[in-house]
Symmetry: C2
């Protein structure tokens, strides 16, 4: 539960001089996904300052025109500060700009989404944040109340992820270096929310020629499985043909 103090926030906004700017504020927010305990999770930080003080929000911040050379650099910088991950799968999702989303006035945020494996990550709150944590995403939603329009962003972004997973190999970026096809399939199923016929799945993944056998095997309880890895210098993005009939209407289109 977040404990947003509406009165303190009102006082803060009272003192805030929005008319000082003729330009919208420009931020970057990143929806950072990972798979944890067999569920899709998103990284959230608890805000240390007004507005939405103490509320949870996506990882993001203002573009720093002195430090950042590009928008994407802003996203990478914030992401690395929080997770230590330097080379995530990072894709621009959409840009939202309007008068209402931030009580301080006209603001623009460019939303990225990142996919990172949950291994080897040590979360750091850093300045500007009280706390930081992974939260389970179910049906595009999270149990905490989110700051600004972040709930809506998360919803749309999750839909986009699901939509892309139908015809791409994006989930490989949620996997550790080595993984079995069974493990990969589980991640697909967990994002899509429905089981996939395993023979078809193997046929498609192997047919896409984006994976290669690592030479090692996974010795769990039962029959060992081949450990695969992403081929070197593989495009970060590629089609794997349709998984079932793709829905009629497309997600992620700004109409």
């Amino acid at each position: 539960m977040s404990s947003r103090n509406k009165e303190a926030e009102a006082a803060f906004l009272e003192a805030y001089d929005a008319s000082a700017f003729e330009r919208p504020s420009t931020a970057v927010d990143t929806v950072i996904f990972t798979v944890l305990h067999d569920a899709l999770h998103v990284l959230l930080v608890q805000r240390a300052e007004h507005p939405y003080k103490d509320c949870w929000s996506l990882v993001g911040g203002y573009v720093d025109i002195h430090r950042d050379r590009t928008l994407k650099e802003t996203a990478k910088r914030k992401l690395e500060e929080k997770t230590g991950v330097k080379t995530p799968y990072l894709e621009q999702f959409e840009t939202i700009g309007n008068k209402e989303r931030d009580p301080r006035g006209w603001s623009i945020t460019t939303v990225y989404f990142a996919l990172i494996p949950s291994q080897d990550i040590t979360l750091r709150s850093g300045k500007g944040a009280v706390d930081i944590k992974w939260l389970k995403v179910e049906g595009g939603q999270v149990t905490e109340e989110l700051a600004f329009d972040h709930a809506e962003i998360l919803q749309r972004c999750t839909e986009r992820l699901r939509n892309k997973v139908l015809y791409t190999s994006l989930p490989v970026y949620l996997m550790p270096k080595l993984f079995t096809l069974g493990e990969l399939q589980k991640v697909y199923e967990l994002i899509l929310g429905s089981p996939i016929e395993h023979k078809s799945f193997r046929r498609r993944m192997l047919g896409a020629e984006i994976l290669e056998e690592s030479g090692e095997m996974s010795y769990s309880s039962k029959r060992p499985a081949i450990l695969y890895q992403l081929k070197k210098s593989q495009d970060p993005y590629f089609f794997v043909r349709n998984l079932e009939a793709a829905g009629k209407s497309a997600a992620g289109v700004d109409v």
Copy 2:
């Protein structure tokens, strides 16, 4: 030929005080496509002011935080000012933000792309533009030198359009109210740059259930053709299954 005066521009930039802003400038640019004389065209305006004075550029401008409620409204306003079209197919393409794209300093532009039928359009230069015209797009390029990074934007946006045309019905937004399947197929072929098998094309378009017979016929020289129209309240966006094998790597992904 544009006649950009580099010395005058240098003087202008000399006088320009970039340090007055701690925020990037925020603009919207729209790649407005149409089909004219059996070729894909893009709408360009000739700049009246520095920088890139007299150069041709995409239709766009700064977000006006007093007039515009949303980013998309900025795009629509500019587009209507130039073409008179109020309800184009308008989709957000991508946002580019960096230090170098504008000589005045850090700038962000959100790029939209619009599809409009070439009928019923009367171009208006309006203020800020010396001239305005449609220019043929060939291989994602145009014969004029474009301002800022607009040549690159056009290139990428054209690629995205082509990619989408492979599996969507977007070209219907380039058509007049009534059109025959033959005419629609020509537009597909012209964007894709390769012929499409006509039986498959009809099967797909009619199978998508997005068109309906208007009741009227097109009486040209030979056998008359059924005039179709877009179904009322049709999603502005929908899949029509694959046209041939979709390429391996996806366009439009910000890596």
